[in-house]
Each structure stands twice: as structure tokens, then as C-alpha cells.
């Protein structure tokens, strides 16, 4: 079998194989980002990639070419690898766009992977996004490589000459002051003409709360202690509030606390429809535990799982454990302020 493979690769039939492969590079659909729009443009009526024999096709098994279009996240990297492994030999990969090169606008993000670390890449096409001409040029370049066996860059860089006596451009100044420990106030009071809200506040003040503040029209911020959170939610449900719009966590490392917010509103009660109550509590950073409201408001469930992924806050009573949205190999709690990004390693002089 090895002899046969060797014969196919370099025997007398090799020129035929090279010719067939050269004129029949079929890219598989693997769109991850906005470069997909440029790919569509390159194969539509203006530029028509089918001229040079490239035809977009459905599945990995019957194609021989992947165009990685844009950013590859940790989850998508697995898909890319599977697609590449499903593809029969000989197969080729082209990466288009700045994101695939070195991250682009997502540079150094916790969730980003370079495609060249996942699969062997033949050519990179820089640009954000690259033009259709650039993409077709990349395919032509791959065809040339198949024909001659040598990869070469199609870009000519011109030499920069140092000019004496020219004043260097002024760089933009850095921001004047960066606060070491910014003050985060969730319930800043504001005077508004809102009679119904004041009425509602009076009702709420009867409960065991730390403070009730009107922050804007139709917005009320309610601060409770962690132990009272669940009871307050039950009381709010009795008032007519029936769902959680969002669950939010704010990390305040300077004061060593997390602020956990529940934005609660109503669909069933017409008067309460425009009202959003921000029910929030403060918990210590070390023992980040808060009781879950998922059994009272079912819509809070998924958002609590997400916050658990990002901040490591444990919601007591929510049965979910482990990663929900993030890929299994993502570093822990990426949205905490003290999260350290992986540093880029540069090799060179």
C-alpha cells in the first residue's frame, strides 16, 4: 500500500493528479465571521471564483480545501479540526482575514485560537476583511504552488528609507488619570415625576430591605442583604413581577465584593410592564455564593449559568455545574478583573 501511495504521489501519474487537483479546489463552507461576506462576493457574479475551478460545496468528505474565514474561537477550533480530519487527502487550508492571522480586533482574547495552531496552513491572506481579489489571488497562489511545488508570497514589500530631519508624528496622549479603585454606584437617586413609582416604593419599603431608590423613570433599585434575597423575590412575585430580564455580576476588586443584579419586570401586569426593578445584593469576593432565583423566576436559570461561567459566582440551588457557554478548555473565570491573559511570546532579535 505504501508503494502504491508513493507511486500516486510521485510516479508517472503524478502530473495528472497535480493537474486535476490544481483545477478542482473545492472549498467547504466553514464561515465563522464577517469574511464570509467577502467569500460570498468572491464567488458571486462580480468575481466568480468558479472561473478558476473552485466550487463551494457542502461537506468535508467530498472536498479538498478549507478557507478559514475570520476568527476561530476555542469552540470553533474543534469544528475546524474535525472538518480537516474528515477531509480526504490531499487537502489544503487558506486563512483569510486579520483575525485568523493573529487575532485581529480580538487580539489576545481569552477565547481566541490561531488557526495555524490547529491545522497546517498553506497561505495567509491579510486584510480586514480581504477584498475578493485578494482571496482569488490566494487561490491562484495555491494553484501555482501545486504546479511548481514552491510556495511564494505574492506581495512585494517596498523598502522604507529613513529620512533625516523630519519631525516624528506626535503620538496620542494617554488618558490623564486611571482610577485605581473606581467607585461603582448602582443605585444613584434621581428626582423624577413618577407618582406610580413612588407608590410602588412605599409598598416595597414595607418589606425587609436595605434601601429602595428611584434611579430614573420606570427604574427602581432595591438593595437587599444576601440572606433576604429570596424572600424579597417571592414578595416581588406576589406584587405582579413575573420574570427576570437579565442577571448581571459586577466585579469590584478594590472593595473586595461582587455586585449581583437581577433585573425583574412583568409581562402579565399592564401597569408593571414598563417598570424594571433592579434587585441587587453584595457578596464577598472570596466566598462568592448567592442563592439562586431560578426556582422563582425560571428565566433566570440560563443567565445564572452564564454568570457562573464568567465570574465563578456560585448560585445555591441552581443544579448546573461546569462550563455552560464556554469551551471546556477555556481558562477559569475570564471576566474577573484580576484575570491574567496569556502573554504573547515573540521569537527574534
Amino acid at each position: 500500500m505504501d508503494d502504491f501511495t508513493k507511486f500516486i504521489h510521485s510516479g508517472k501519474l503524478a502530473p495528472l493528479k497535480k493537474w486535476g487537483t490544481k483545477w478542482s479546489l473545492w472549498p467547504v463552507h466553514l464561515v465563522t465571521a464577517c469574511c464570509g461576506a467577502e467569500l460570498a462576493h468572491a464567488f458571486a457574479s462580480g468575481y466568480d471564483g468558479e472561473r478558476i475551478g473552485a466550487l463551494n460545496y457542502g461537506i468535508a468528505r467530498q472536498t479538498n480545501f478549507i478557507i478559514v474565514e475570520g476568527a476561530i474561537t476555542r469552540k470553533m477550533a474543534r469544528v475546524l479540526r474535525i472538518t480537516w480530519e474528515q477531509m480526504p487527502d490531499p487537502k489544503f487550508v487558506i486563512v483569510m482575514g486579520a483575525c485568523g492571522l493573529n487575532g485581529g480586533i480580538f487580539w489576545n482574547g481569552y477565547n481566541l485560537v490561531k488557526p495555524s495552531e490547529v491545522v497546517p496552513v498553506e497561505f495567509f491572506i491579510p486584510g480586514c476583511p480581504p477584498t475578493p481579489e485578494a482571496l482569488l489571488r490566494g487561490i491562484r497562489q495555491l494553484q501555482k504552488k501545486l504546479e511548481t511545488g514552491e510556495a511564494e508570497s505574492s506581495v512585494d514589500f517596498y523598502d522604507l528609507r529613513l529620512q533625516k530631519g523630519k519631525i516624528p508624528k506626535m503620538l496620542p496622549k494617554s488618558p490623564k488619570r486611571i482610577s485605581e479603585n473606581p467607585l461603582i454606584i448602582v443605585n444613584r437617586a434621581k428626582e423624577v415625576d413618577w407618582a406610580f413609582g413612588k407608590e410602588l416604593c412605599e409598598k416595597l419599603k414595607a418589606l425587609k430591605l436595605e434601601s429602595v431608590v428611584i434611579t430614573a423613570k420606570n427604574r427602581i433599585a432595591v438593595k437587599v442583604s444576601e440572606s433576604n434575597l429570596k424572600e424579597t423575590a417571592i414578595e416581588l412575585k406576589k406584587l405582579g413581577f413575573d420574570h427576570v430580564k437579565s442577571v448581571n455580576v459586577i466585579d469590584v476588586p478594590a472593595e473586595n465584593k461582587f455586585i449581583v443584579e437581577y433585573h425583574i419586570s412583568s409581562y402579565s401586569n399592564k401597569d408593571l410592564m414598563p417598570v424594571i426593578v433592579n434587585l441587587f445584593t453584595e457578596i464577598p469576593r472570596k466566598e462568592a455564593k448567592v442563592s439562586s432565583l431560578a426556582d422563582i423566576f425560571p428565566s433566570a436559570d440560563y443567565m445564572e449559568r452564564e454568570m457562573h461561567d464568567f465570574f465563578g459566582v456560585e448560585f445555591k440551588g441552581n443544579p448546573w455545574k461546569g462550563k455552560f457557554l464556554l469551551a471546556p478548555d477555556t481558562p477559569e473565570f475570564p471576566l474577573r478583573k484580576d484575570f491574567k491573559l496569556q502573554e504573547e511570546i515573540y521569537v527574534g532579535d
Binding site: 501519474l13 486535476g20 472561473r51 457542502g58 468528505r61 467530498q62
Partner: protein
């Protein structure tokens, strides 16, 4: 040994195709010892019909042509150019050859879950029902196997093809392949009954399943004698070969080429041309039943070759017109196609049967 060789040559020479145009060349070649056997074999009528025209050689050329033509036509309709750079003077006509060569040299993956022997054998087995009808399709004097039941036999072999496709899906053992197989089976039931009834109506009309009688009786093309059967046959042809309005078993956007999803390399090359070959066989039958078969203006110099040439030209024109349908229409849902197949499509074929029986009594 020599006596045996002489006997074979005698049999071959007794049934030679006569073409006045190349007769001098044949006469000079037949004197050369070894070459004469080859020339006599090629010009032996059954061999010529099955292997050269309208058989395998024309089938290969047709495959190259139809794939290129479909891609080019679709491209033109979408305001694109289509395959071009591979051979500019030919307008990219050898694009299908490049794709075929690429498939030929590519790795053929057999995945772990597949039923290995069937997965590899079935694409090759599927060629038996596709290629056998060609032996029974006559073109004038050029005929492989001469039988008065040729049309019935062709229909019987065509009906066997979907079974191999369902088996291919089963051997693949993948969810998309399974869905595709089930769809193929459902579509098979939907088109096969109207298709067979349409053919029976034409057999009633002509009074025989013998292609020679069929051609003889067509004083005007059969399409005008029984337009309903013509329509039913045309739609059944689109459904049977998974052309685009009924591309339901192979819908590549939904179920990723259905039964053929797991095939790669040369095996996919084999299964991909199945539908095209089926289309060729069905279009040959279509030409014989509805378009006057091999009848046409005769050129004396070509002799016996007139009939196959006319048959192939008419078939290719019919197929090219069907290719336009593919590039223009969107796909039906499976329930729409089935409802159509079981309701008015079936009713239309029964009506065609009545008309066929009536006209058959008159003429």
C-alpha cells in the same frame, strides 16, 4: 485454434455495421492479421451498440458534456461566467475531467461505522441496473440484444436503481444517509407508479413494446399523439434523477447529499454519476417513445451510423432542455412532492392511459 479464430471472425463479419464513408479504410485494415480482429469486433453490430454508440463511449462523452453544460448554464443564469480558466479556447469544457481526476486520486475514506463490504461494493453493483438497459436500446440496425419486449425490460431495469441507492444509504450507517435513503424510497413510490403507467399508455398506443414497431407507428412524434403521457414522463424523469425541483433525496443544504454523504474519492465519483447515467438511459427511452427515436434525414455516406447519431442528438437536446429546469427552479418539500405524486400526478397518468388506449384503437 485457427479454426476457432476463423469461426469467430466469420460470426463477426456476418453482422458488420456498414458505413460507406470509412469503408475503404476498413477494407485496408481487414487485411492486416491482428488488427482485423479488433476492427471486426468494433464494427460488430452488438458490440458497436453497447460499447461505442449509443453505449459506453458516448455515455462518457455525455457525462463530460452534461456536467460542464449544467455548471455553465447555471452560471450564465446567475450572471456568472462558470468554469473557464482551465481551457480558455474550449470555454472550460474539460472542467468535469479535472474534477473526475481529482476524485480518482483522492483518498477514499471508509468510516468505522460503515458496513465495509457493502459500502465498497454497492457503488459498483449499482452500475448493473444502470448500464444493462443500454444493451436493449436499439438504434436502427445497430442493436445489442434484439427483443420485442425491449421497452418493458428497460423500465424494469430502471426500477431497480433506487434499491441500490437505498442500500448505499443503509451501508453508510449515518443519520444523513438514513434520512436520504428514506426520502429516496418515498420518492420512488411517488414517481414510479405514474412513470410505469405512462409507459404502459404508450405501449397501448403503439400496440407493442418493440422499439421498431414504436418508431414505425410514429407518423408524427409521440409527444403529439399523447401529450399527457409526455408530460407525466417528463416530470417522472425529473423526479427519478433527482433534478432540482425534486432534488429531495440529495438535498445538499439540508441533509448533505443524503445517501452519498459518507462517500469520498473515487467512490463518490462513482455514485455521483449514477443519477446522470440514469438520466441518459431514461432520456433514450424518452426519445424512442415521444420524439421519433432514430428517424431523421438520412445521409447516404454514413450508412448504418445515421440512426445512432440521430438518437444521440435527440437525446442530448432533450437532456440539455431538462438541464435548464434544474438551474431555474427551487426545491419542493418532501410532503409537497409526495402529495403531488399521489394525487394529480397519478390521476394525470391514468388519464394518459385512457387516451393511449383510445388512440391505440383508432390508429
Amino acid at each position: 485454434m485457427i479454426a476457432m479464430f476463423d469461426l469467430v471472425m466469420q460470426i463477426l463479419k456476418s453482422n458488420q455495421i456498414e458505413i460507406p464513408l470509412i469503408q475503404p479504410v476498413v477494407d485496408s485494415l481487414i487485411e492486416i492479421p491482428v488488427l482485423n480482429a479488433l476492427v471486426a469486433l468494433i464494427l460488430w453490430r452488438p458490440f458497436f451498440a453497447v460499447v461505442v454508440m449509443p453505449g459506453l463511449l458516448v455515455l462518457m462523452i455525455y457525462l463530460l458534456y452534461i456536467i460542464w453544460f449544467e455548471r455553465k448554464l447555471t452560471a450564465r443564469i446567475q450572471w456568472r461566467v462558470g468554469p473557464l480558466e482551465i481551457a480558455r479556447p474550449l470555454r472550460g469544457a474539460i472542467q468535469a475531467l479535472a474534477d473526475g481526476l481529482r476524485y480518482f486520486f483522492q483518498e477514499a475514506i471508509v468510516h468505522k461505522e460503515a458496513h465495509r463490504p457493502y459500502f465498497i461494493q454497492l457503488p459498483i453493483l449499482a452500475f448493473i441496473p444502470v448500464l444493462l438497459p443500454i444493451a436493449f436500446i436499439p438504434a436502427g440496425n445497430v442493436v445489442g440484444i434484439k427483443t420485442p419486449y425491449a421497452i418493458q425490460l428497460i423500465v424494469a431495469f430502471i426500477s431497480l436503481i433506487p434499491i441500490t441507492i437505498v442500500a448505499i444509504g443503509w451501508a453508510s450507517n449515518s443519520r444523513f444517509a438514513f434520512v436520504g435513503s428514506v426520502r429516496e424510497a418515498l420518492m420512488y413510490v411517488a414517481y414510479e407508479i405514474p412513470f410505469i403507467i405512462a409507459v404502459i399508455s404508450m405501449i397501448f398506443l403503439y400496440g407493442s413494446g418493440d422499439p421498431y414497431v414504436v418508431i414505425e407507428k410514429q407518423w408524427i412524434p409521440g409527444a403529439f399523439l399523447n401529450p399527457l403521457a409526455f408530460l407525466v414522463f417528463l416530470i417522472a424523469m425529473l423526479m427519478a434523477t433527482s433534478r432540482l425541483p425534486f432534488e429531495i433525496p440529495e438535498a445538499d443544504q439540508e441533509i448533505a447529499f443524503g445517501p452519498f454523504v459518507e462517500y469520498s474519492g473515487i467512490l463518490f465519483g462513482l455514485v455521483m454519476v449514477l443519477a446522470y447515467e440514469k438520466l441518459y438511459v431514461m432520456a433514450l427511452l424518452f426519445t424512442i417513445l415521444f420524439l421519433g427515436g432514430w428517424s431523421g434525414p438520412q445521409i447516404a455516406l454514413l450508412g448504418d451510423l445515421n440512426a445512432p447519431i440521430w438518437l444521440v442528438i435527440k437525446t442530448l437536446v432533450a437532456i440539455s432542455i431538462i438541464a435548464i429546469v434544474r438551474s431555474m427552479y427551487a426545491r419542493y418539500r418532501i410532503d409537497q412532492a409526495l402529495r403531488m405524486g399521489f394525487s394529480w400526478f397519478l390521476a394525470l397518468s391514468v388519464l394518459a392511459l385512457v387516451i393511449g388506449a383510445f388512440i391505440g384503437m383508432v390508429i
